[in-house]
């Protein structure tokens, strides 16, 4: 399926759910975050402990998104969708197309995500919002992963995530903090498969912080620890600095500067990231 087809597919799926999600506006703008590269509500490089859309425990909601990351030697294009059932369960899907600029070679991957809200609330009460989640990666182009020595061409990450937003935070601006603990054997987000001959730590820490300068403008940063599992190739952690614009509950644009470190022998992969999201 081409990217265009996929986007159409996602949009069609969301349109089907429209009657159910028609008034899924019950949460405060921004509390659904944006769409991460895995399709899960996040965050950009990492999911966050928020469930996509603005639906409450009485509502259903969903979102579709398109993302592109363009670093020195590679591009990553992502399209996907997420559904939120009563602000308790999130199901997400993303198709990632990773392109090596030098030879126009492409690695395509599907990611299906599941997130369950265990306790707490992002904004209210004494307990921060806590979720558990899983992301299943499956490569559609497994040749590269096999060539670099990955053990498997599919795999599942599991994570626990917690997030808190302080309404009256830094400089009286609403301030959000998110921390994830992930169990993963993925190489480069799963694009180079899972596992290898020189396994690094399977436990990864991810963190994100953001400040709402206004009700519609958020600036922040993310860090995602990644392990180096392949002796043939070096892998490093990823970071980004982002600004997200949320003019309404329906639409958001996120721009970021990303540093993905070394990828497949190409060092210092930095560049820009752009994501648009539509929410129902």
């Amino acid at each position: 399926m081409t990217k265009t087809n996929l986007t159409l597919f996602g949009s069609a799926l969301l349109l089907l759910c429209m009657p159910l999600a028609a008034h899924a506006d019950g949460r405060i703008k921004g509390t659904g975050g944006v769409s991460s590269i895995s399709g899960a509500g996040g965050g950009g490089l990492t999911p966050w402990a928020v469930l996509t859309s603005h639906s409450t425990r009485e509502e259903w909601g969903g979102s579709v998104f398109l993302t592109t990351a363009n670093v020195d030697d590679f591009t990553l294009d992502v399209a996907g969708a997420g559904f939120n059932y009563k602000d308790r369960i999130e199901v997400s899907y993303a198709r990632q197309n990773f392109t090596i600029k030098a030879n126009d070679a492409r690695i395509s991957q599907d990611i299906v995500g599941l997130k369950y809200r265990l306790a707490g609330d992002l904004l209210y009460g004494t307990v921060p919002q806590i979720v558990i989640g899983a992301e299943h990666h499956s490569l559609r182009d497994p040749a590269t992963a096999r060539a670099v020595g990955a053990r498997k061409t599919h795999g599942t990450d599991v994570y626990v995530s917690t997030a808190r937003a302080w309404i009256d935070g830094i400089a009286n601006r609403t301030t959000m903090l998110n921390v994830n603990l992930r169990y993963s054997t993925a190489n480069q987000f799963g694009l180079l498969g899972h596992g290898g001959d020189d396994m690094g730590s399977r436990l990864h820490l991810e963190a994100a912080a953001g400040v709402f300068l206004t009700r519609s403008l958020v600036v922040g940063a993310e860090y995602r620890h990644k392990s180096d599992n392949l002796s043939a190739l070096n892998e490093e952690s990823a970071t980004d600095v982002f600004v997200a614009w949320l003019p309404s509950k329906r639409f958001s644009v996120t721009a970021a500067w990303v540093d993905l470190g070394e990828i497949a022998g190409a060092a210092d992969q930095t560049g820009f990231y752009l994501s648009i999201q539509g929410t129902l």
Partner: protein, 146 residues
């Protein structure tokens, strides 16, 4: 070596001085009641808030049987009290006020948005809005699903 030590000490002393000065001169946050423009400012916010609720189809039904006069005077008092103003709140507790109303989390958030709109209309700066909103947010547990 000695010179480097001296430079280092001067740097540390300067830095300590900067931090100490920062601590001593850090402006104490203005009283929230004053920041909201005193009772006059609060009254404007309450008027805007009532109008915002009246226009809000999501929540207006909850107020169908409300006595607007009493709501107005109790809101003025309550906001003054919450903002550390010179008022006592003489109304009923938040639980008693909302019991049987079946206020959902969505209703509560709608009211929060109406309050934001009311404060925007009154040109309350966002930092001051957040100071009040964070205090109002603490009441949520006493208001929803009662």
């Amino acid at each position: 070596m000695r010179k480097a030590g001296f430079v280092c000490r001067v740097a540390v002393l300067t830095l300590s001085g900067v931090f100490l000065t920062a601590c001593v001169t850090a402006p104490r946050e203005e009283n929230l009641f004053q920041a909201l423009g005193g009772q006059e400012g609060i009254n404007v916010i309450v008027e805007n808030f009532i109008m915002a609720i009246a226009r809000d189809e999501r929540v207006i039904d909850h107020f169908a049987v409300s006595n607007v006069e009493r709501f107005r005077s109790m809101m003025r008092e309550h906001l003054c009290f919450i903002a550390d103003g010179p008022c006592e709140y003489t109304g009923d507790s938040m639980i008693d006020t909302h019991v049987g109303m079946g206020v959902t989390e969505g209703d509560f958030n709608a009211i929060v948005e109406d309050m934001m709109a009311a404060m925007n209309q009154a040109e309350v700066p966002i930092g001051t809005q957040n100071r009040l909103l964070s205090r109002l947010a603490e009441l949520r547990g006493e208001i929803i699903y009662r």
